[in-house]
Symmetry: C2
Subunit: 477 residues, 2 copies
Amino acid sequence: MSNIENKHNANLNRDLFAISLDPAGNTSLQAQLLEALRAIIVTSQNLTGARLPASRILAAELSISRTTVQVVYDQMISEGYLVTRRGSGTYVAHDITHLRSPTPQARPARPVLKPWQPFQTGLPDQSLLPYQTWARQLERAWRTPEPDLLMRPDPLGWYPLREAIADHLAAWRNLHCDPEQVFITSGAWEALEGIFCGLVGSGKTVAVEDPCWPKTHDILRVTGCKIHAVRIDAEGLDAGKIPDDVSAVIVTPSRHYPTGLNLPLSRRTALLDWAKRTGALVIEDDYDSEFRYRGQPLPSLSGLDGRANTIYLGSFSKLVSPALRIGYLVVPIHLLDQIRRHLGRVGPRASLIPQPALATFMQSGEFAIHLRRMRRTYARRQSHLLDALQPVSDLLDLQPDPSGMHLCLSLKPQLARRVSDQEICRRAKKIGLHVGALSDHCVLPDKMQGLLLGYAAFDEQALSEAADRFANLLRSV
Amino acid sequence: MSNIENKHNANLNRDLFAISLDPAGNTSLQAQLLEALRAIIVTSQNLTGARLPASRILAAELSISRTTVQVVYDQMISEGYLVTRRGSGTYVAHDITHLRSPTPQARPARPVLKPWQPFQTGLPDQSLLPYQTWARQLERAWRTPEPDLLMRPDPLGWYPLREAIADHLAAWRNLHCDPEQVFITSGAWEALEGIFCGLVGSGKTVAVEDPCWPKTHDILRVTGCKIHAVRIDAEGLDAGKIPDDVSAVIVTPSRHYPTGLNLPLSRRTALLDWAKRTGALVIEDDYDSEFRYRGQPLPSLSGLDGRANTIYLGSFSKLVSPALRIGYLVVPIHLLDQIRRHLGRVGPRASLIPQPALATFMQSGEFAIHLRRMRRTYARRQSHLLDALQPVSDLLDLQPDPSGMHLCLSLKPQLARRVSDQEICRRAKKIGLHVGALSDHCVLPDKMQGLLLGYAAFDEQALSEAADRFANLLRSV
């Protein structure tokens, strides 16, 4: 049987098995079935040549007698809707156009997704994930699922995944916590929304770094919190500049977003002291610090705090794939009840489907191997990009970055005098290069200037080619 | 090799491959590796007997010389951390307790999920899903994923799934729409939140049925909308009772939640006329009408409207599994840009992992076969439960329901005089029976009384046993 015939058969079965008949209806079961079957054949485009189920099977599916089905089939054969081939069954006739209602419009073509263009930020190179392993682990988890997978999904997440995350954080981030403190989310938006709605509360003020991830502002607005932006200096966020009446502060200590700055120990201690004194929550967004190329990965702020006042935010979007929609929170023990209540109320968002496979991926050590491999790859790509940009070293400050997935490059005076970062980005976009402007991440006056160039998702050839075009552009402005 | 040894090896590799060394550090690479390896062995509980990777492999992983690794291994053998077995490699020593820091606490036991108890509502019988098929489709989708699966996930959802949903709605719900109008969400909460934030707007008033799904009130509060509850009558929601100044109304026309009432055609037409006149949005929550046991499934309200003003909400939580966290919206064409902007801003929540498998499940016809099978099963369970409750037919109004996954039973005067629905539920809970109170779904005064008994997730034996206990309880109050 051809694929097309297979598909037509499946379409027909889908529609037939959806028929409901009413034994107490105004017309006989036979009349109801006749009408329903006629409607299916007349309105569907993709049934030509499809084979009808044996009368015995359709009768069982619809809980009616086999005779009723046979009478209806015979009637439709005589009307020309169906044909019969001796010894082989009953089929939808090929030429029923004269029986059809006017043709519905053809379905539009599928939209084409825009490919990821250099130097877009925020995506890992998803082509390097070991999909064979990943697909096998998905298959194993769901072929004969553990009984707990068939219960109402726990809004807190799949427990073995929470365990695997606790192990990972201990090994990679010096963050020692109990799996009970780890909560699975569908990503940073849900996690922050949960913290603002469930722990901080509408109307309260939250301090953010300036510059920062622009969506933080959106989420704070949606949850009704007030925003207090604090401009970072050469060392990052200074706790001394945060007013005492804020209820929480969001910080990216291991790698400031988007500048890449690392918050020094003295500043970390000062921040934790400030939080202890004011009772404010510290929300540590640790979005990609596993990708550290030189030196030990820095311990997390939460690990330093003993997590008394610090909530840790992690995500698998950059470490594995954004297709997962899986992130997590690590919450201090004294806040567990409050966040559990909130998550119980809003219910689970993160799909349970990938969670057992991800837990196995982590516990088997494949995850660490993948991280290490990506770290080597990204380190190579970063230095490749820096080399490729050498021709414009008089225009851009080409500092290597010890970590991350993008470079944040300052404009040298010779370039900064002539043009703004936003203007460069606008012109780059016209030639298919997506460069980010640092100033787009600021809300305070006297916005910082800089260019964000993602390199993680592009191979060396693509980076060379894009860097050449970008250098030409910079020379021409 | 035993499973335990395998696990220990994986743990060790995970930790080793996570080490970062700094060639520009204050100490030599050798000293750094020695310290890191010592720390791993001393702090980890689960490495006893684990085999270390060959020096060649670890050297390649850490980008250092093989000699450095070999010197460190030798040093640690002499210190007693490692042992070597001739011709077989280097292992973590068995007796290193004297070298360890104080033992960290053992991990607590995994919490046990509470099994689903009769007569809890809202869950399908997940044990009846064809997991072999489902697991195979997951594996196929991700073994060699289509290029589009490796791009940034589309916040609107995986296009072939949107197509499959459009086909399903045409066949089952008489709702004809373009796949562009279908948006994938992580479920009803996200869908409603998206409508209230993205289309209705904070501060506006939304009308809800009384009784209704209690979380609707939570979502409206979180999004800053005002609530106007309208008590339903024997025919359901009466559009004449909705004030003209509300911006939207949420309605469950095919099967009122939780009473099961079907909104008659005259009321539907009146509601659409009202919406046309006032310009208000109608949000049709169609959560389980595929499970209709007698008569044709009723066409959706959105299908009747031509969707001019009606947004349709669907979900796979009850039709397939709540583990998916996949639901959807169907939005009228004139609102597409607005909802796209909103979804683009908040980003995707629904995991991409199950979406291609679900699309295949639907397009292959397996989904329709599953629905039909569940429909037969649930119909059988409902009549079984009604039979089992016959002994208390003097206390409860045992009307069969032509659709749904739970019964909403009125209290007969003899019972209603003695006790409230909430009191019955409290007492039932004490004997492990989860019965819902209709009054808990009301906010207006003079709350309606009734009992909600879910039957879909329980087999006949469980239903008989639970019905017996419940009948005894009712006799005793």
